[in-house]
Amino acid sequence: MKPPTIIVCIKDIPDPEGPRSAYEIRSDEKRVVPIGIPPVINPYDENALELTMRLKDRWGGRVIALNMCEKAVLPVLKKALSVGADELILLEDQAFRNLTSYATAWVLSAAIRKIGDYDLVVTGRQAADWDAGQVGLLLAGILELPGINLVQSAEIEGGTIIAERLTRTGHETVMAPLPALITVSSEVGDLRLATIKAIQDAKKKSVTKWGAADLSLDFALLRSRVIRSLTPPPPPSRHCHFIEGKTSEEKAENLAARLRRDKVI
């Protein structure tokens, strides 16, 4: 088999493990400003990168990491190069700000068409900031590729992809002809660590920037999300009653007694 070309779509988001206080809600500007938490590659995109690298371990070939945003955060995205991607393409333009999922998929599809020759597109199942979970399958639809959602493992065989995708309680093994697109779930496992040498080598790898003008884009398709309001979540509706006691046993007894008194149990 000819070594495959795999395109993996990644983006950075504020660290989703950050505490609530790290998300400043600017309702007047209708946006969230992260305070004191670093941007990271979306964890599901890291899973996508890991699965891509496993395929590269097996088959060799070329891996292109693709990012689209208003202003790329290069130090974060370069992680893709240090874990084994051969090339990083940044789609960077003011016009790419606050796009809808469909418009995002459209821009990515234009870039992928420009890349031209590829066998597989890999995305995370969703981005842990807006959690829409749509761009991957919309991209598959626009490129007219079979789109397999929520993949936990995948193998390339001949001209096909064989993937295990999650069902609600188990999993399903499916097969589709290449080129295809898969969206990857956290079940794949964590992204490998980069070696020092790989981090050094990554500096020599190619980073390409394309703006809107470099892509054959119909600007009418660059629709923005229309945000009516963006507010903090409602305050917690529960008030926690702490169960006291000198020892764990006493706390446990007091808990049972209290739950009985309140008719919870």
Binding site: P16, R125, D131, L137, L138, L166, T173, V174, V264, I265
Partner: protein, 326 residues
């Protein structure tokens, strides 16, 4: 005449409770805007359930096709697309279910639109006609209301986000909708059914988090499940995502944003930090009891009762007390 379409969810050959919540969301919109409330049943032999749904919607479209015998998202999306092209719907409402994570974007793409997923509230702006979709973002650290103008407006609604629609006293019209479908480009080779658990039907849940690191700990919680069975009909063991990823419990027991949404009478969170992503699944519980050794864990802000201490000591003592309670 404007129409609203609700895609009916089924489970094990019956109508899933979520369907009545979707119908309620659709009925709310139609009360405001006067649209005709329509429902769509898809499946092989889907017509059997049409009589029941007809008591809830004015028009029930039935797409009965052998290619719909098991959920193949591309085929389902094409079937709904065919209906949307034949009948103009202003709004299409679907459940935010596992299958619809796949079907909704595929439908949206076929219609050249976005879908708004995982909404907790769906309203109409009566001036502009836009659909207003409320959804938590940034792991529940913010709430956004998005406006959708383009038709059809496609949204998926989070289970348990609203109550069920009451059965009406007028029977709607049942309309068979035959359409030509093609097999999916994605072939199923094999299907592995995991453990089938109905966390959404449990009335008490014991949930393990990252603080419960070992199989020994899980066995301790199983003993608590057993003890609670004296007081509740259906008690289930559940877990937060990290524990499932460590392989300690199967994914069918995962509660949270990418797992199940539950609403038991009692939810006992053991060693769970209380990240917004987890609470997105557990928040519907009537009473939440948190047991955690870290007094600063965010779970306590989201709980009704809190016990600070090591679960290894608290749970056995709690079990001892439960078994002697009448």
């Amino acid at each position: 005449m404007d129409r609203i379409l609700v895609i009916i969810e089924r489970e094990e050959g019956r109508i899933a409770p979520l369907s009545y919540e979707l119908l309620n969301a659709g009925a709310e919109l139609s009360r405001q805007g006067g649209e005709v409330l329509c429902a769509c049943l898809l499946g092989d032999g889907a017509g059997e359930l049409a009589d029941e749904i007809a008591w809830y919607a004015s028009e029930v479209y039935v797409i009965d096709n052998p290619l719909l015998s098991h959920v193949q998202p591309d085929v389902y999306a094409s079937a709904v697309e065919a209906l949307c092209r034949a009948v103009n719907f202003r709004t299409v409402l679907m459940g935010h279910t596992h299958d619809n994570l796949d079907i909704a974007p595929k439908l949206a793409c076929r219609m050249g639109k976005d879908a708004i997923t995982d909404c907790v509230k769906i309203e109409r702006d009566m001036d502009s006609g836009a659909l207003l979709c409320t959804k938590p973002i940034y792991g529940g650290n913010a709430v956004v209301v998005l406006e959708v103008e383009q038709l059809p407006q496609i949204a998926t609604l989070r289970p348990k986000a609203m109550g069920a629609l009451e059965r009406g006293n007028v029977r709607g019209e049942i309309i068979p909708f035959p359409c030509e479908l093609h097999p999916s480009p994605i072939l199923t080779i094999s299907l592995v059914h995991g453990e089938s658990v109905s966390l959404d039907k449990a009335d008490a849940i014991v949930a393990a988090g990252r603080g419960v690191k070992t199989a020994q700990g899980i066995m301790e919680l199983e003993a608590l499940v057993e003890a609670l069975s004296r007081h509740f009909d259906r008690v289930e063991l559940a877990a937060s995502r990290p524990l499932v990823e460590d392989g300690l419990l199967p994914r069918s027991r995962q509660v949270g944003q990418t797992g199940e949404k539950v609403n038991p009478e009692v939810y006992i969170a053991v060693g769970i930090s209380g990240a917004a992503q987890h609470m997105a699944g557990a928040g519907g519980s009537k009473k939440i009891i948190a047991i955690n050794k870290d007094s600063g864990a965010p779970i306590f802000e989201a709980s009704d009762y809190g016990v600070v201490g090591p679960y290894e000591e608290i749970i056995p003592a709690f079990i001892n007390k439960l078994v002697v309670l009448p």
